[in-house]
Structure formats: C-alpha cells, structure tokens
Subunit: 345 residues, 2 copies
C-alpha cells in the first residue's frame, strides 16, 4: 500500500471548499484490502425491514456487521493488517490495545493464522469481550482506563518481544480494511436497486466511519456520510464544530463501551473532517431503544456502540423521510445483563 | 404446479426399502417456487462461527432464517401461495390459522400484495406475534388452544367471505416455498466449499423439514436430514418409531410456542417418513442454552422453536465430530421476557 494516496478529486463532496487534502488511505487501498480479505471475512448482508421502512417513511438498509467473524467490523481491519505480515513478523507475534472488539478480532485473526497475540484491554471491558479474547488463545493484559496508558503498555511489550503493534484505528491498513464495509454497501445497495442518500456509522477512533466515507464518497460523491457518537464521548462532533481535535472529559460514562476514546485519531480525523456531513450524538436511552428495535424488527443482537446509528435515526437526529439511509450496525458483543436491560427498558 | 409429482428415484436415501412413494411436492416445484419468490424474500446468509466449529470439532453452518422477512421461514411458503392467487381471489382475501409465524408471514405478504387477511391465532401466542399480525393490517381472531378448532373457524370465515385458506403446512405450495430453504443451503454450502453431511430443521406441522428434505436429498441423496422437536411435542419422533401418525398428549407444555401441533401433517408426514434420518428431541433447558449460544456466538436473535436444531447439537443428539452440519435457525420472534430468561439462565 502506498503510505499516502491522493483521493480522486471527483470523489470529494462538492460542498468541500478546502483544497483537495491528502489522506492516508485512498479508494485503491480499500479495493486492494477487499481483494486480500475477501475469502477470510463474512460478506455481511444488507438487510431491510418493512417495519423500519414504515416507521421512518424511508428505505432503511442495515449493514449487519454484528454478523462478522468475532462479532464486529474490526475483523476486516485486523485481517487486512495481519495478512501483510512477513514470516519473521508472524513468528514474533502481534500486540493490540482495544476496548474489546479490536481485541476479539485481532486475537481471532491471529489464531487463524497461527500468530501469537498479546491483547491489552481495559479491566472494565465487557466480560464477553475479555473471555472471548482469551478463548482465542491471546494473552490478555488488563489495564485501568482512568490511570494507565495503553499505548505505553503496548510499546513496552513490542520493544521487549519484537511483536508488531496492531493499532485499533490509526493505521492505513486498518482503515482500508474497515473501508471494505463501504465498498460492500455500495455493491449491495446497487444490487437491491437502491440509490443511497445517507450512511451512518458509529465513531470511536474513527477508523470505520473514515474508511466507509472514503469508499462510499469515492464511488458516490453525493452520499452524505454521518458519524454516530454517544453523549459524553462526542469528541468528533465537537472537533468538527471547532475545526480541531477536541478531547472528551475524563470520567465520562456511557453504555457504549466500544466508543470510548479520548480524542479523534491522527489519521482518521483529517478524513472525517473533510468527508463527513456531521456527527449525530445520542443518549444511552436512545441507544437502548435502538438495541430493542434491532432485536424486534431485525432479529439481530447489536451491542450498544453498534446500535448508535439506529439510535440516531430513532431519535430524529436526521430527517430520513423519502430517503434511502444505510445504517452500519457494527458489532454484537454484549453482556446478557446489559442486553436484557435494554430489552426490558 | 402438478398436484402430485414423483420424486426422482435416485433422490431417495438408499436405506429406504419401501417402493418409491409419490409425494405432493417434487424438486421441480421447489425450483419453480424459488423462481417465483426470489425477488420477494431475503436470501438469508449461511453463517459460520469459529467458536461453534471448535466446540463441536465440526463445521457448523447456520442458515439464518430468523433474518427472513417477518422473522421466519414462513414468509417463503406464504409468498409462494399468495403470488399464485388470481385477481378475484386477491380481492376476496385470505384466511390463515397459525401459532404465530405463519400469521406474521401471511399478513406481511398479504399487506405487500394488497390482499385482505384474516388470521386465526391462539390466545396464548406471544404478544410479539399477535401485535405483529395486527401491525400488518390483518384482522386477528383469537381462539382457545385447548377448546376451539382453528380449522373450523377458518372454514367458517372462508365459507362466509370467499377468502382463500392458506394452511400453515399441509399445502403443496407452502411446502414447496419452505423447500427453497433447502435449495439455498445446497447452493450456499457449495459456494463455501462445504460438502454437507447432515441438516437439522425444526418440525411442527413438518412443512419446513419436509421441504428441506425434498430439496436437499433430491440434489444430494447422501445427506442425512433430521427433524428437531421439543419434548411434549415430539409427535414426529413417535410417529417415525411406530410407522403411523401419532398425536401429542393434550395439555403438553413447551417454551417452543411455534412447534405445538397435535399430529403430523397429512402431506408432510409421508415425505418425512421416507426421507428423514430421524427426529431429535430436546428439553426446554436444551433450547434455552441454544438461544443463548446463538446470541453469544452468532449474534442472532433466535426464538425457542428456531433454536431447536442447535439445541439438538448442544445436547449431543447426533455426533457431529469431523462432519459438516447445517442448522436451520428458522425464526426469531420472541417476547423479551422469554428471551432474557434464556440469556440469564
């Protein structure tokens, strides 16, 4: 992959007035990633529910990434990264820091490829995610989200063992892998005879929504791509407003365990700043309602972070009437108590 | 559709010693049904979980029919039947009796085609199913499962209004529609490079497992097709043992609301008697464990009846080690309280 690929000028939304920026990843990288990982991933279905269509007076298409291997889109990026390691790197192993889904994905891909994996996870991550990474044979190192620096722990392990660090989002290969979600959305919507007006994908470090925006807007520049964020971790919404990377307040709480970063990614923010139509912020109650709606109308288990795009729609953050809107429901790893609480709230 | 189509002799399992029987439905009918309904249904994915594969030392493929429109395979049969009504029949409407999923499916297809629908449901059916049929615009008539005769109620309505009765399973068009699940399984397993050893599908009236057996065994005679049934409603297992249709005891209870018939179907039993390798019977606890496993490893919401094939595997009813086994998870319409109970049990 070329480290710096210029996106096609025609791929940018016409409203962008800044000069064409240079991003870490371009459409070609995402297409190459798709070729590379195609036989390793689930081509997740683009589902449609008559009930959701009726509810919104719109055509709502759901990219069910909760059906991806290891239960989240993260498998795509990890797969794209690990498949490019050489033999010596594979023997030295990989180290990843993650709030959960990147841990599950990296450990699952590593196991499949026979690569040793060390995974650094917050001690308060869902048990399903911690146990899942251990079940995949990874060495799991827990840290304190408020006190410890996960990147420093990762760097220490990498320095000691020679392991390759697999970052959760600030890596061109990871971003390109996540962008394959966008490629498939365009292909599948086309096959369904749908002309997409908008796409919403959750944002934490921003790798998913950046990758999706790069893919979708390169192919269909008029589509509006939105991030979705939980209140308290709405760093992207505030960063888009101020024009510079803003941090979240320490100690913020959200049921969206997968969407808790401190600040926007270094590689992802420039992409999101230039390509996104905005970031839609939802409350935990909005998210619980969306988890229940996905259960009831789609029969999909969606975790809090993965339900945020549907939450944004249910909360009326954008007007969908008469439009075709694609929601990326990006993960489905959730502890039963949290899930039951959403169903019965 | 020819009312009586002879199945290809080569399609029968070699162990069958009876003369080649004549069934109500053949492979050609199922293929025609697939052509007819293809653009109306979800081609549900055939999913695979590394965790389930590891657990059983097998290749476990999951046909996720809970992702079908209206949340169950029933949409296929209803679609195949209603698409063949003429204009006068469409105006007169349809009447269906159903424990729930056939009600949801028939009302959903009727709504899509602009056909009036009356649906006769047990008063103790899950609220999600009763409300769903009403939300689809159907007139819902509730009856007492222990006292009333739903077929008589249906006949009375049909006699009075001229509506066409859409039976839940004892109808060649319905069976052919459900059989399209089997066609897709064969195509999708082939695309995944899998050689199927066994298929398990839940059995109530038997339309699904009969249709699947007809399709799969016509194309791949060596595949063993099993029914799955809940204890208390194991009429097929007992009928296969005795060689004649047996009834369930009145007052039997099961969490599998969708699998509660009195006796095997008239058209489906001959097919199941000749084509199935057996019927696997599971307890309610087995079923709850399977619902939780589908939640945890597949991120699919599966209702009790839909989880029975996975329950049979988890309970060790067949030995899967080293084999490729396809599980049809046939529905996902379940009240939150029942579902939460399964997740937390």
């Amino acid at each position: 992959m070329a480290a710096q690929c210029r996106i096609q000028p025609g791929a940018l939304v016409s409203a962008v007035t800044q000069p064409t920026p240079t991003f870490a990843v371009g459409l070609g990288d995402i297409q190459q990633a798709h070729e590379r990982i195609r036989d390793h991933i689930v081509r997740t279905p683009l589902l449609e529910s008559a009930t959701l269509n009726d509810l919104f007076g719109a055509r709502i298409l759901v990219k069910a990434e909760c059906l991806q291997h290891a239960g989240a889109f993260k498998y795509r990026g990890a797969c794209n990264r690990l498949l490019q390691l050489d033999e010596a790197q594979r023997r030295a192993g990989v180290v990843a820091f993650s709030s959960g889904n990147h841990a599950l994905a990296t450990s699952a891909v590593a196991r499949k490829l026979g690569i040793p994996a060390s995974i650094i996870m917050p001690a308060d991550a869902p048990r399903a995610k911690i146990e899942g990474a251990r079940a995949n044979g990874a060495e799991v190192i827990l840290y304190d989200r408020q006190k410890d620096d996960r990147e420093a722990i990762g760097a220490e392990i990498a320095g000691r063992t020679g392991a390759v660090i697999v970052p959760p989002y600030d890596d061109p290969h990871i971003m390109a892998g996540q962008g394959t979600v966008g490629l498939e959305i365009v292909e599948q919507a086309d096959a369904a005879g749908a002309r997409i007006d908008a796409v919403i994908a959750a944002c934490s470090g921003g790798g998913l929504v950046a990758g999706v925006a790069l893919a979708v807007k390169s192919l269909q520049p008029d589509v509006a791509v939105y991030a979705g964020e939980p209140a308290g971790f709405d760093e992207l919404a505030r960063s888009l407003a101020s024009g510079q990377p803003e941090s979240n307040a320490p100690g913020a709480q959200s049921i969206c365990d997968a969407l808790q970063v401190v600040r926007p990614g270094k590689l992802t923010f420039p992409v999101n700043q230039h390509l996104l139509a905005g970031s839609l912020v939802v409350s935990d109650d909005d998210t619980r309602r969306a988890m229940k709606a996905a259960y009831q109308h789609l029969r999909l288990v969606v975790e809090p972070g993965g339900a945020v795009p549907l939450a944004a729609l249910l909360a009326g953050r954008i007007e969908a009437r008469g439009k075709t809107v694609v929601l990326v429901l990006s993960g489905g790893n959730v502890d039963p108590a949290v899930y039951s609480d959403a169903l019965n709230s």
